[in-house]
Symmetry: C2
Subunit: 437 residues, 2 copies
């Protein structure tokens, strides 16, 4: 068998970078025997002098200047694991201009700058591969691009952020409040010191932008998505959801609409307890893909961590060794363009869970339901309970199908009532598998 | 963009063939725009004159002689959808000898003759692609070969046969007996008139042979697998399993052993009700892949049907248009050889569910448990109930961990007791996700 040497330049040698190099060293012989690709680390750049002294490397491999890596003629493929959108941008754009393929796990950068970087890769005859950027070890990028290319994709429903899923799972199974569950996630290394991107849905939106591009052939700017996080979810909401036969998940949705652009959103969502996505718990990710010809497809697995991410990077490297620039020609990122604008969610019909706090006295429910009714919001179920110490009560309402715009107007009126305290919370209720029916 | 014409010769124009051509016609423009592959039907052969008069084809496309298709210089890729292992063999071997790539959904033929056909493809510089042969629309072949090539695969646990899963699901949720559920599957088109391959585990074993080859790099002859079907499973077993917190699935298992060859089997298995594979119901398929670096990964979806199979075939055709013979070099089928022999299951340690019928009188349980104890089989749980009309009782036993060889010896003794009627039934109890722990 022909052996094909692949000389890798790594930029960013932190936890994931170290995990990738360790995995590459342990799997190198097996991958060479199975695929003919001989993956070897040629250069590594990191701002820290030698972050992993326990990893054996040939002398001269390490440098603190990424420019030395992306311009090194001995490097075929650059792996970018710096993260963020500043230096990482310079690394990727520079490597592509130097005609080197790039493998990255950087969803934030691709979501922000994909419309610029993918065409740049194409102009330079290079591939910008990113299996590791979405759902870690789950080969969802390849599944959509290649495995499902024979069938039109109708929708995606994804649990794309392991940190948020871990927190919601702890809140549900261990009756923890949000702050305690977040702290536990941080202690276990499932959440960053600054968890904003994870708990506010931003990281999920970045990944959704990439999945939507693969599925619909058009680049949609994530800034136009409807995005809301899980910081306002309380243990009470989890408990009320349970009474309705549901669990709460931070759900990323990409859905074709009858005409016009797709609906793209990331938001906490109530889904039925026996729905297949409800079984995706702890730090796991899951993507449910509804296709026209191939039916529904679910992929679940570890969405993050040094080894799972490393595994996805090795897959991209091997794929590149096998097919090189052919992939660029064959499975293009945005055949339909770079200028996607998602549908405004205002016209979406859905059932909603609403939680609000109001004064605990007779006649209050009549005023609230009257205000909702005036805007056409019909109540399917009502729970009033848990009188709070200061004379208030928590009220939970499940609505019938209602247009988002109407509900928002109704809640503006309700929140303005003198008997209602603080802004109400609304969560969409959805059965992912029947979403297209 | 460069457009690459792909001229397809189809042999076998039945339900799946017709579905594939319909899907190809409806998706051709989209696939060409997204990937540059222009998939066109050049020739079709079928023993029936024109099975789908509603499908528009250029004049001269149809023939009744497959030889005209596999030798046609205007055909680049042959799609084999004849099924079976006789004519289909001639079609595939002939096409490969004529230097044409082959795409097939024929797991039976590949399991029987893969050790001959894959090397034949290689010698002729061709690819023999078979995404559609395993789990229909689920891109599990590509996921294992390419997506997970960076991580060693430790085990597979699969629900690989939609017919058997449909029957077991009906038995569980609708309290049907085996015969009624099978009849319903046949009425709905989920089971063949002769369901032997499906309900006896043979079809699952064929698919397992292919998944094992992809995962372990060696061709294992399925005739050496431990295979048993679901025909002896009764509604009582489903009910007893439920009392133990379990469901019964026809589970295909490929498991690396510490040393020596992997354990390969297809058998009804009790798995915990909250295990992720237990949620794969009805006619769906599911594969749980446990990897060293990437953790566990579950893929579920439609395992059969004209459209899902057609979708997988279009994926193979597009992949071939993009990469052609490069795939043959890069992701080889059997880098470790063609001569695999699975481990004998005799040394496997497992818990078992045992059901037997015995005379309903005092002292019987003592004799049975005594006979089991003499062979080292320790009882974890015992249910005696449902006295039958002829003075017998059904006894269900859950054992502690026991070696298969010991259990078989014990059951031989038990079945020989004068108080025991007919052969006892044993079913392995397993938690797929903890199988490697």
């Amino acid at each position: 068998m022909k052996v094909k040497p692949v000389r890798i330049g790594l930029v960013g040698y932190g936890t994931v970078g170290g995990g990738m190099v360790r995995l590459l060293q342990s799997e190198r012989d097996r991958i060479r025997a199975a695929t003919g690709a001989d993956l070897a680390i040629a250069r590594i750049a990191d701002a820290v002098e030698n972050p992993h002294p326990d990893i054996a490397l040939p002398p001269g491999t390490l440098t603190r200047d990424y420019r030395a890596v992306i311009s090194d003629p001995a490097v075929d493929i650059v792996v970018e694991l710096v993260g963020g959108t500043t230096v990482a941008y310079d690394v990727i754009a520079g490597a592509l201009r130097n005609k080197k393929h790039v493998v990255t796990a950087n969803k934030a950068l691709l979501a922000e700058k994909g419309a610029e970087l993918f065409p740049l890769a194409r102009e330079n005859g290079c591939v910008l591969a990113f299996e590791a950027a979405v759902c870690g070890a789950i080969p969802v990028v390849r599944a959509i691009k290649e495995g499902l290319c024979g069938s039109r994709i109708l929708s995606l429903h994804g649990i794309l952020n392991g940190t948020a899923n871990f927190i919601l799972t702890k809140m549900r199974f261990e009756k923890k409040d949000f702050a305690t569950a977040l702290k536990q996630a941080q202690t276990l290394g499932f959440a960053e010191a600054d968890p904003t991107f994870d708990v506010e849905g931003i990281d999920s939106a970045h990944k959704l932008a990439l999945l939507a591009a693969l599925s619909f052939g058009r680049f949609y700017d994530w800034h136009g998505f409807h995005v809301s996080g899980i910081t306002r979810i309380t243990d009470l909401d989890i408990q009320y959801a349970d009474e309705m036969g549901c669990v709460i998940k931070l759900l990323a949705i990409a859905q074709r609409t009858e005409q016009g652009p797709p609906f793209l959103s990331v938001a906490p969502t109530l889904i039925p307890r026996d729905s297949i996505l409800a079984g995706v718990n702890h730090e796991f990710n899951g993507v449910l893909i509804e296709t026209e010809a191939a039916g529904p497809l679910l992929l679940t697995g570890r969405g993050a961590g040094a080894s799972p991410t490393g595994s996805a990077i090795l897959s991209d490297l091997t794929h590149l060794a096998a097919y090189g620039p052919l992939e660029r020609e064959a499975f293009r990122m945005y055949p339909e363009g770079l200028d996607g604008r998602p549908a405004a969610p205002d016209d979406l019909m859905a059932e909603y869970y609403i939680r609000l706090t109001a004064v605990d006295k007779p006649g209050v429910m009549a005023r609230i339901s009257g205000a909702l009714g005036d805007h056409g919001v019909s109540i399917a179920m009502l729970l009033q309970k848990l009188a709070t110490e200061n004379g208030n009560a928590v009220i939970v309402i499940k609505t019938h199908d209602i247009r988002t715009r109407q509900l928002n107007d109704a809640l503006k009126t309700v929140d303005g009532l003198d008997i209602v305290n603080g802004p109400s919370l609304k969560i969409r209720i959805l059965d992912p598998l029947s979403a297209n029916s």
